[in-house]
């Protein structure tokens, strides 16, 4: 409990900074929607664009002139921002102890390494939830002025928040795993962010061509399709299972390797 609380306190500033970033993004993003809302000319322009590009930006599945459609497109960017925060928190919360040489204090206390990893992972998860709630709040406040918001829209937003939460957990687990496993702690965060960006581009590529659709299994960003969340309001059980497998494997792997490796000071 003491480790958990200390980490929460130590990460509060970072949470606030990310919260401000997300809120600004929401404000700027939805201010653009004022130009799109109920605008038939925009639809005409979009119709002329090549399908691959539309697909890449998720414009195909959504009607950008409705708030739900516009939000569906914004979802990809929320997913990216929240995942970056999660993966960085995950790797940093472990590796900072080696970077700042505080392992010589924190891990010479009478505590098991597994317990340290658990407490830190939970603290980072609470941070993720905090950022998610900030995002949710910012979206609700930022779109409350639009007339087309209705109960379907709010339900859609709530569902995407669940999707964002699952994405955060995947990338948090990957971050923790890399932080615990990589010997060169300096590389952990950059490797984590590289994996994240790589899978993000995979998700774009996999949507462009039918033959590349199998790539969606490699990209968590494809696990939660905002279009099907909007139209069918369901999650694909295969991807839910995949999410659980990734999270459990990463957290278990992190515990296993961290408990058995040398710490460098």
């Amino acid at each position: 409990m003491n480790i958990f609380l200390r980490e929460l306190r130590a990460n509060l500033k970072s949470l606030i900074i990310w919260g401000v970033i997300v809120s600004l993004f929401v404000a700027v993003g939805f201010s653009k929607f004022t130009a799109y809302e109920g605008n038939p000319e925009l639809l005409a322009i979009l119709d002329e664009m090549p399908p691959a590009i539309l697909s890449a930006f998720n414009f195909e599945a959504f009607n950008l002139t409705t708030i739900s459609g516009f939000y569906g497109v914004m979802f990809s960017y929320f997913a990216l921002i929240l995942s970056v925060a999660a993966v960085m928190w995950g790797s940093d919360i472990i590796t900072k102890e080696e970077r700042d040489k505080t392992v010589e204090f924190s891990l010479t206390l009478p505590v098991r390494r597994g317990k340290v990893v658990t407490a830190k992972t939970l603290a980072a998860a609470v941070n993720c939830i905090g950022l998610l709630l900030i995002t949710w709040g910012a979206v609700l406040v930022g779109t409350s002025y639009f007339e087309s918001t209705n109960s379907d829209y709010y339900q859609f937003v709530a569902l995407t928040m669940v999707a964002l939460f699952l994405l955060q957990m995947i990338f948090l687990a990957i971050g923790v795993f890399l932080g615990c496993t990589l010997k060169h702690y300096k590389r952990a965060t950059s490797v984590a962010v590289a994996i994240l960006l790589g899978t993000f581009f995979l998700s774009i590529i996999s949507g462009m061509n039918e033959n590349l659709a199998f790539l969606q299994y490699l990209s968590p960003f494809k696990y939660f399709d905002p279009a099907s969340l909007l139209h069918e309001a369901t999650f694909d059980p295969v991807f839910l299972l995949l999410t659980a497998v990734i999270v459990i494997a990463c957290v278990a792997g992190a515990h296993f390797t961290y408990a058995r490796r040398d710490l460098y000071i």
């Binding site: 003491n2 130590a10 505080t102 204090f105 891990l107 010479t108 040398d262």
Partner: protein
């Protein structure tokens, strides 16, 4: 009972040597010195005790229990002061000490304040704002606040001014009298000499010798310094004499053997002054490292 038992302990960092086949015991209640130059493997040995790193082969036991398997349990009773202390910079000293105390299964509040007062530590300041020496004081308080049965010191005095060093040594002596065993690693021989009852000398990852500090000083060598006019250094070049030097009307050498032989030799001369003393550990040390 042995507090620390090290058996054939080796540690390699990849191919680089940390320590090789190190064995020794530290008995309950002693102050055990562990001396050697930088890079000899002192910190490696200590980090193996604390399970920060894992042995390549061999075993270290503390309180009769394996350091890796029973790490957290053992560390309830270990106080560790590293050579350089690193703490969470943004915390206040008092918060850090309380945080540290929260890991031990006893109430450390009173002892914590006693130690902070004794070391003249201002607990309201932020770690970040502290000087190197003051951080070290935090380390001392943090390492001792749970009244450990084993105190592990890794070059503890760097950064402390002489007055604080004095206070620190007397604190360690008090803890020792209270029953704590002390493992004192250092390359500063003078402080080891002042504090320790037994020493192990480590070089290039291996133990060279383990001896009582008194044996090390007494049984081995005498340092002889003779001042006289027209003294011929060659006259003293007998068996057992080493490092013979002539230096402005004085002759200096180390002698090992029957002391009567050398006093007879000296008595043949009309001398102005004579010193026969135990060599400092430093001088013995240089001998081992030749």
């Amino acid at each position: 009972m042995s507090i620390i038992e090290v058996t054939n302990l080796s540690k390699y960092y990849g191919k680089a040597r940390g320590i090789e086949d190190v064995s020794f015991n530290v008995e309950e209640g002693e102050i055990f010195g562990f001396i050697g130059p930088n890079g000899a493997g002192k910190s490696t040995t200590i980090r193996l005790f604390l399970a920060l790193i894992y042995p390549t082969s061999g075993q270290a036991k503390i309180f009769g229990k394996d350091c890796i398997e029973f790490g957290p349990e053992i560390r309830q009773q270990i106080g560790y002061l590293p050579s350089e202390v690193f703490y969470y910079d943004k915390m206040k000293v008092i918060d850090l000490l309380k945080y540290s105390a929260s890991f031990y299964d006893r109430d450390c509040t009173q002892r914590m304040h006693e130690l902070a007062d004794y070391m003249e530590l201002d607990v309201k300041r932020k770690i970040n704002d502290l000087s190197y020496g003051n951080k070290k004081k935090v380390g001392i308080v943090q390492g001792l606040l749970h009244q450990p049965k084993l105190i592990v010191l890794d070059e503890p005095t760097s950064g402390l001014d002489p007055l604080m060093q004095q206070k620190f040594f007397s604190l360690i002596r008090d803890e020792n009298e209270r029953g704590a065993t002390v493992f004192f690693s250092s390359h500063i021989l003078d402080e080891v000499q002042r504090l320790c009852s037994r020493v192990a000398i480590i070089k290039d990852g291996g133990i060279i010798t383990i001896e009582d500090i008194k044996t090390l000083q007494k049984d081995n060598y005498k340092k002889v310094n003779i001042v006289a006019n027209g003294l011929d250094a060659a006259h003293f070049d007998v068996e057992g004499v080493t490092n013979l030097r002539r230096d402005d009307g004085a002759v200096q050498f180390f002698y090992k053997g029957d002391i009567n032989v050398i006093t007879r030799l000296i008595s043949e001369h009309d001398i102005a002054d004579l010193d026969i003393e135990d060599p400092t550990l430093e001088e013995i040390f240089i001998h081992y490292y030749q």
